[in-house]
């Protein structure tokens, strides 16, 4: 009977733990917003601006949303691997190539980890990178236009999760595979996974001036799952660390079968060593198919290049480049502190955090203190590399960020909390609940040598009972804690879009002065642009009709077009002639099957329309641009397919 009771309690305990809520104790612990003057801390008065930008990845929405801190106001949604209802589909005819892959046009992905470019380990605010997990890709987004400028597909990769983290001078963006797969892909029995599958860790070089991406090499690692990663910095600059799970190399019922080993690994990769090896002719070229999509700001157009080859590196061919650091228990987060000395592996199935020391690791490597090997890669002794353990008392530690004052902040998914602890002494200083099931957290600059440790944003998976209910599904939530004092203080929570998977933040002053206000019309190199309304015209080329159109408040030039026939393919090439901040014009025409457009000042965009019915069909501006926005309209006359009516167009003629 007694035994029975224990079982029951255990089951209830586990149920609570995995539901990740624990509402009971947490509500009363806050004094409310007024008692703690939280409202004052997040209030940004009308006309005032926020102190920080925060870029939250949208997870399964495939995009990036831009918020202000501390207000939690959303400023913009940047479509990356996603369709975008705000402007129709989120791409024009010109930018469709950005979503090309070796699998065809893929306008969706699962975007997880944004990272801002750095110089000397400090944020420089030029670009932000983000990964697409599902059809492995890395995107580069300009932080002056807040537009996606480049997307490169990653061959031999699957579940591009331990990405897109960057080295301290933006030398490389890394794209580590979560799933190991046959490399190259082939038809083979799944249960022959072991020793046949490989995990590709891809190092993508970033051209220093324009940021262009190029796969420098792919390290073909043993077939584990590579979960998260982090670059070294300071002394450890030149190294990259990857957490692994499924070192069991199970291929079925992973939940159980890949949780058997007491310790998995953090893979430490000396990329400088591999770079040297590659630069002196090392590595093997392998046939591969992947798309490289680049957006040109001058032509406002994206182009796709299909690449055919990738350089692969076998880690055993570069002695001294790759080591395994045993880390308990299916580590998830892999975080390096601002000094570069500590590598934190959070065992998502354990209660403790394991902190490795970079210096100890180097000493162990120099002393050749190995504890065996895996697929020819030396395994270091756990005790030799361990710097310390944080006995937290929480459950399910996931991710750690740093405030630059010697403190670290770790999220605990299962016990739904943020725990603050001290680097070096490993003592827990403070802990605060989250609502609920927190994944990543973010301190602006927390991923660099110089964090701006004023706020931490916790990103939660479950929102129930925080906001007014909206049916079974609610947006996820983020929470802002003031971390300027010894104790953390929850000062605000706000709903987010998609799954707020991870975020990157930086001081507003780093980006705001460089933010582009218009595209210069005199820099517009789009082949179908009209520099002057007098150049507006309509040209027929067989069944294709090209309309060179310009817009300005509040009319289209031309606004009456005749001579179009059923069955034509009509290209509207629209150039917005405004040179004023924040004055886009829209374009849409009845029966349009592709996209409504939003054309920014100085930009040209194209929309295709295939008229199916005879008639006189209106088009209009969809962006409320001015007092006469409603009058911003025009007509296209569509005649039967066999009509002989000549093309004509006009504006303001009776």
């Amino acid at each position: 009977m007694k035994k029975y009771k224990y079982y029951l309690m255990a089951i209830i305990g586990v149920a609570l733990v995995f539901s990740g809520c624990g509402n009971g104790g947490t509500k009363g612990s806050s004094n409310g917003a007024l008692g703690s003057s939280a409202a004052e801390k997040v209030y940004v008065a009308p006309g005032q601006q926020d102190e920080f930008y925060a870029f939250l990845s949208g997870g399964y929405s495939g995009n990036l949303t831009v918020y202000g801190l501390p207000s939690g106001r959303m400023f913009k949604e940047i479509p990356v691997f996603s369709q975008f209802p705000t402007s129709g589909y989120g791409y024009s005819e010109e930018t469709k190539p950005m979503l090309n892959t070796s699998f065809g046009f893929v306008p969706w992905d699962d975007a997880h980890h944004p990272d801002i470019s750095q110089t000397n380990g400090e944020l420089d605010g030029r670009w932000i990178f983000i990964n697409g997990n599902n059809t492995p890709r890395i995107a580069r987004i300009s932080l002056s236009t807040f537009e996606t400028e480049e997307i490169i597909e990653i061959p031999n990769s699957a579940g591009n999760h331990s990405s897109s983290f960057i080295t301290e001078n933006t030398e490389y963006v890394v794209a580590g595979t979560r799933f190991s797969v046959p490399v190259p892909q082939r038809d083979m029995p799944i249960n022959e996974y072991k020793s046949n599958f490989k995990g590709a860790l891809t190092f993508i070089s970033v051209e220093p001036e324009h940021g262009q991406l190029d796969i420098k090499f792919q390290l073909l690692m043993p077939g584990f799952n590579y979960d998260l990663s982090h670059p070294g910095r300071g002394d450890s600059h030149g190294w990259f660390f990857f957490t692994t799970y499924n070192t069991e190399e199970a291929n079925s019922l992973m939940e159980v079968n890949s949780s058997q080993n007491d310790k998995d690994f953090i893979a430490a990769v000396n990329w400088k060593k591999i770079e040297e090896y590659v630069n002196s002719g090392g590595g093997t070229k392998m046939a591969a198919d992947y798309a490289h999509n680049v957006y040109d700001e001058g032509t406002h157009t994206g182009t796709t290049t299909m690449k055919k080859e990738v350089l692969t590196v076998d880690p055993t061919k570069v002695p001294g480049a790759v080591f395994f650091l045993p880390t308990p228990k299916s580590p998830h987060g892999c975080d390096v502190d601002p000094s570069g000395q500590y590598i934190i592996g959070n065992g998502k199935l354990s209660a403790d955090l394991t902190v490795h020391s970079f210096d100890k690791m180097i000493a162990a490597i120099d002393g050749k203190k190995f504890d065996g090997e895996a697929y020819g890669i030396p395994i270091l002794k756990f005790e030799d590399v361990l710097a310390g353990t944080v006995k937290s008392g929480g459950l399910g530690p996931l991710h750690t960020e740093f405030d630059g004052q010697g403190n670290a902040y770790t999220t605990f998914f299962i016990s739904s909390e943020v725990v603050k602890w001290k680097l070096g002494t490993w003592e827990v200083v403070d802990r605060k609940p989250t609502f609920y099931s927190v994944g990543h957290l973010m301190i602006p600059g927390g991923n660099s040598r110089k964090p701006f440790g004023k706020y931490v944003v916790a990103m939660n998976k479950i929102t129930k009972d925080r906001y007014l209910p909206t049916g079974p599904e609610m947006e996820h939530s983020a929470q802002i804690y003031d971390i300027s004092g010894e104790k953390m203080e929850l000062i605000y929570d706000f709903p987010t879009h998609g799954e707020p998977h991870y975020a990157a933040g930086c001081p507003a002053e780093l980006l705001a002065p460089n933010s582009k206000k218009i595209y210069r019309l005199d820099d517009n190199k789009h082949p179908y642009a009209v520099a002057n309304p007098s150049e507006a015209r309509v040209e027929r080329n067989g069944k294709e009709v090209h309309i060179y159109m310009s817009t300005i408040r509040s009319h289209f030039t031309p606004d009456n077009i005749e001579g179009i026939k059923v069955g034509d393919e009509v290209y509207f090439h629209i150039t917005n002639h405004e040179q004023d901040f924040d004055v886009p014009h829209g374009f849409s025409i009845i029966g349009q099957n592709t996209s409504e457009l939003l054309v920014m000042p100085g930009q040209t965009k194209t929309s295709i329309w295939k008229p199916k019915k005879v008639g006189v069909w209106p088009f209009y501006c969809t962006d409320f641009c001015s007092a006469l926005h409603q009058e911003m309209q025009g007509y296209v006359r569509v005649s039967p397919a066999n009509s002989n009516l000549e093309l004509s167009w006009s504006l303001g003629e009776d």
Binding site: I552, R553, E578, Q579, D580, A627, L628
Partner: protein, 209 residues
């Protein structure tokens, strides 16, 4: 008389600032233009305070039927003003040099000053006339036709000097560096005349060497 002549030269040379710096500025601010739109007026043409201000002011003004802002070739003033200033500087320097060598009397300095003042008043008159034309001579097909409470058509003439509320815009019209340099220059020529007069008074008809 030497000091007076040097001041005369310096004063007229300061007018050359008008070839480099704007003479006047009209600024239009409104809630939706937290960064005001502005026109810098030079003696040889107009320039936006920010690069695209002229285009954006024209864009706004077309609602009320105002003409687009003139290009240098649209107004004779932009050709004549630089000539007039150039000639006045030349004359001023010439008079200064002649004064320095005792070829002429201080009265010429006053003469130059009076002529320059007269030209300045004419210039302001012309400028105001242009503002009146620009602000009231509107396209009869204008999109917005606004009237004063008494039924007369509303004028959009910016103030010649100072601030005026125009619909939702605050218009500010003030001299800029070029005008200040001209003002200081003219003051110097006036002082030059005065010094010349005092010198004459003290030294009588005695010849200076």
């Amino acid at each position: 008389m030497k000091k007076a002549s040097l001041l005369m030269i310096l004063g007229s040379v300061l007018l050359l600032g008008l070839f480099v710096f704007p003479l006047w500025n009209i600024e239009l601010g409104a809630p939706q233009y937290p960064e005001p739109l502005g026109i810098d007026i030079y003696i040889n043409g107009l320039q936006g305070q920010n690069e695209f201000d002229i285009q954006n002011i024209d864009g706004l003004n077309h609602y009320i039927g105002m003409k687009t802002l003139p290009k240098p070739e649209d107004m004779w003033e932009f050709t004549v003003f630089p000539l007039v200033i150039g000639v006045m500087v030349f004359l001023g320097v010439l008079l200064g040099v002649l004064g320095y060598t005792n070829k002429i009397s201080y009265k010429w300095f006053f003469g130059w000053f009076i002529l320059m003042s007269a030209l300045g008043v004419l210039g302001m008159y012309d400028f105001n006339a242009w503002l009146v034309d620009y602000g009231t001579n509107l396209d009869p097909k204008a999109i917005l036709k606004l009237a004063n409470p008494d039924g007369t058509p509303m004028s959009y003439k910016p103030p010649l000097l100072g601030h005026q509320k125009m619909l939702n815009f605050d218009a500010y019209s003030y001299p800029r560096l070029g005008a200040y340099l001209m003002f200081v220059g003219m003051c110097l020529t006036l002082i030059a005349g005065y010094l010349g007069w005092r010198y004459k008074k003290i030294n009588g008809t005695k010849q200076q060497n």
